[in-house]
């Protein structure tokens, strides 16, 4: 009961500012760009081969990699701003047991991240479908594959938000948390692949595509577990930092 009401408070925190709407606006822009690309874009040879098969269309709709990054930024900003605005003081006054407070934060951003991922995949799917109406191709993705795309994006969104929240709790500065998230998700993975080519199968982008069903670099179970690790390790580090630090 205590945990539920703390999570409820954290969800109200997330929904009582304009930040979620800003992220939804970003999703809308991405959706519009996707629809335009499908409707008017061509391959190098001027054909529309990139939307000619169900697999091609599923790849376009697969939003999990984007969801992971967008939700990670959301989680990082949501938690880091608690420190920059000082509202974390109230969080720890109402929930003095810090692991419980952090768990509630993580649970709330996980839910929000899942929602962002689901909405993002929905917008992406709708955009592809809308774009296809301006072409000679129909919507070919099966219901099962569509469900996988939506589920993968939902999962990736939740995981990304938890990852970002961990970085936010660790860094405590909004700009720093956003930078840290970008470094961890966009800059370090390619460098890691350069150093160890086998790492390519385990970077977030690849893993997100595996769970979306558009890549088979790893097994599904392994990919889900690896995405979980990507999220939980920063979250655990953030939790330890929050538990040990003073609020100054």
């Amino acid at each position: 009961m205590y945990t539920l009401r703390t999570i409820r408070a954290e969800i109200r925190k997330l929904t009582s500012t304009k930040m979620p709407f800003a992220f939804l606006a970003v999703l809308a822009v991405i959706g519009a760009a996707t629809a335009a690309a499908v409707a008017f874009g061509t391959d190098m040879d001027g054909s529309k081969t990139f939307i000619s098969t169900a697999a091609d269309q599923q790849s376009l709709m697969a939003f999990a990699a984007n969801a992971l990054i967008i939700a990670a930024l959301f989680g990082a900003m949501a938690v880091a701003r608690e420190y920059s605005h000082g509202t974390v003081v109230l969080t720890f006054l109402t929930t003095p047991r810090r692991p419980q407070a952090v768990f509630a934060q993580l649970a709330a951003v996980f839910v929000a991240g899942c929602m962002l991922g689901l909405v993002g995949a929905g917008v992406s799917t709708g955009s592809v479908a809308a774009g296809l109406t301006a072409t000679d191709y129909g919507f070919m993705v099966s219901f099962a594959d569509l469900a996988q795309v939506l589920a993968a994006s939902t999962l990736a969104g939740g995981a990304g938000a938890v990852l970002g929240a961990g970085i936010g709790a660790l860094v405590r500065n909004t700009g720093g948390a956003v930078t840290g998230t970008i470094v961890l998700l966009l800059i370090l993975p390619p460098l890691a692949v350069q150093a160890v080519s086998e790492a390519a199968s385990w970077i977030p982008n690849t893993l997100a595509n595996v769970v979306s069903g558009v890549d088979n670099a790893t097994g599904m179970g392994e990919a889900i577990a690896a995405i979980g690790l990507w999220a939980l390790v920063p979250a655990a580090i953030g939790l330890v930092a929050v538990t040990r630090r003073d609020v100054v």
């Binding site: 409820r8 408070a9 500012t17 605005h85 109230l90 006054l93 109402t94 929930t95 003095p96 047991r97």
Partner: protein, 318 residues
Amino acid sequence: MQQLSDQKTRTAPRSYPITIEHVTKSYGGGAAVVDDLSFVVKPGRVTGFLGPNGAGKSTTMKILLGLASPTAGRATIDGMAYGELADPTGTVGASVEADAFHPGRSGRNHLRIVADATDTPLERVDEVLELVELSAAANRRAGAYSLGMKQRLGLATALLCDPPVLVLDEPGNGLDPQGIRTLRNLLRSRAAAGNTVFVSSHLLGEVEQLADDVVVINQGRLVTQGSLDELRQSASLVRAASPEALQVTLEAAGGVVESGQPDTLVVRGLSLDEIGEQAFRAGIALHELSRHNDSLEDRFFAWTGDTAGGTPQSNTKE
């Protein structure tokens, strides 16, 4: 804050003394911000926590509220650390940072979040908004609030769960004179009902208006504590025909004498009777002998020796 007392003020509360026991706090092995500090804040009194900027007041309050851990010692509420209390927010209402609000969130939503976290009925949000006269601005972004409005929102947050203990850090900052007066009445009514009210300030005039007791710290150490009236009324004012001779006589009798205006002495350590008798024996005519009420500012500089890193302000901020 048009109402002078919270309608839900408890009439027969359980007592919750605050006890600071040998608390020391230092960062990274450096000098202690708080140094072996001990004092007790009694229920039923408004206790002012006074010291210049950087004296360690906020750190002490954060240690009390579990936001910072002491290097040594213990800070308790009714014998328990804040985090050990069965119902922390139902026991202690705190406002330790004036602008600890998300600037894009409305005052009402800020309080609703606290209400959610503490399982407080949402109707109470409107009650405390009315209590601190923020109802009209409740749906505005907190970022657009003036400092005084932020203080009111902080006070509303502290009062939301109607706790028997209030811990407020610089609550008068930014309040207008009417706000100060109503804050004083509110805090006094809470204390009169047996609640514990612990208020920090570096504004001497504010503490003088608010507090029954004071705890004075400087550079992390306790300087003095006690009833404000007793601390202020510890001197006598003497006007005499021969002040120099009287000064010698009174100092010989054990008094501590300060010369003020040409024929005036301020005497500590001797009662009015003792001063009169000493003057009579020395054959010195007295023109005036009365109890001298020092201003808190005078006493503060006497206590701290004016060595504080920051100078306290004698006037309340408008």
